[in-house]
Symmetry: C2
Subunit: 108 residues, 2 copies
Amino acid sequence: MAGSDLYTGTLDLLILKAVSWGPRHGYAIGRWIRETTSDVLNVQEGALYPALHRLERKRLLEEEWRESETGRQAKYYSLTPAGRTHLRAERRRWEEYSGAVARALATT
Amino acid sequence: MAGSDLYTGTLDLLILKAVSWGPRHGYAIGRWIRETTSDVLNVQEGALYPALHRLERKRLLEEEWRESETGRQAKYYSLTPAGRTHLRAERRRWEEYSGAVARALATT
DNA sequence: TGTAATACCTAAGCCAGCGAGGTAACGACC
DNA sequence: GGTCGTTACCTCGCTGGCTTAGGTATTACA
């Protein structure tokens, strides 16, 4: 399936949001993004997994192997306290940014 | 002056919008973006000028030297027909994208 | 048997943007 | 005369996220 040309920098926000209610594994995060955006955003695995590793390295996510709903082992990610703070900041940044662009586009 | 971490890919849209009413020179485009976004977006010249050259190479912008309001020579950019089409497409893409992200962020 | 879905991973390459440098002309100020 | 801020353009090196394109292994189903 084709990618969806992410605006670079928005993926982290979506991932952090995806795990904001509780642990989720990578594959499910990708599916969640695709579903909640009605296929507008289809994150490639080659972007998703490296991003998860990055966030884990930055201590914004924690990983833990456990059993998924289908009975297989999967790597579950959850927010660290720093991750939750970062989510808030990134979200604010996104809202400020997208609001600014919207204003620019609205000018006549 | 510090930059403002653009979401990669949004700069072209802003530039095209900036010249959608008529020719503007590079420096004025940068200023327009900064002003209409109330300093939220401060585009670095190291990003701006290469972007202008890119858009010109893709025949989305045309350039022409003429005199600026201050009486100096400046390179004025204007939209080609293809540029106008591209602006519409990029705008649609942005609106779809930002709408999708907003929906994702709104989920509880 | 083989196809689709689940679930993970990596490597090569591209290229936009960042940071930091530069040139030159002009006006204002002291 | 010198300096500072603004206007107006430019380039170069580097980083790093994303795309594309591969790969493995397991389970379920036809």
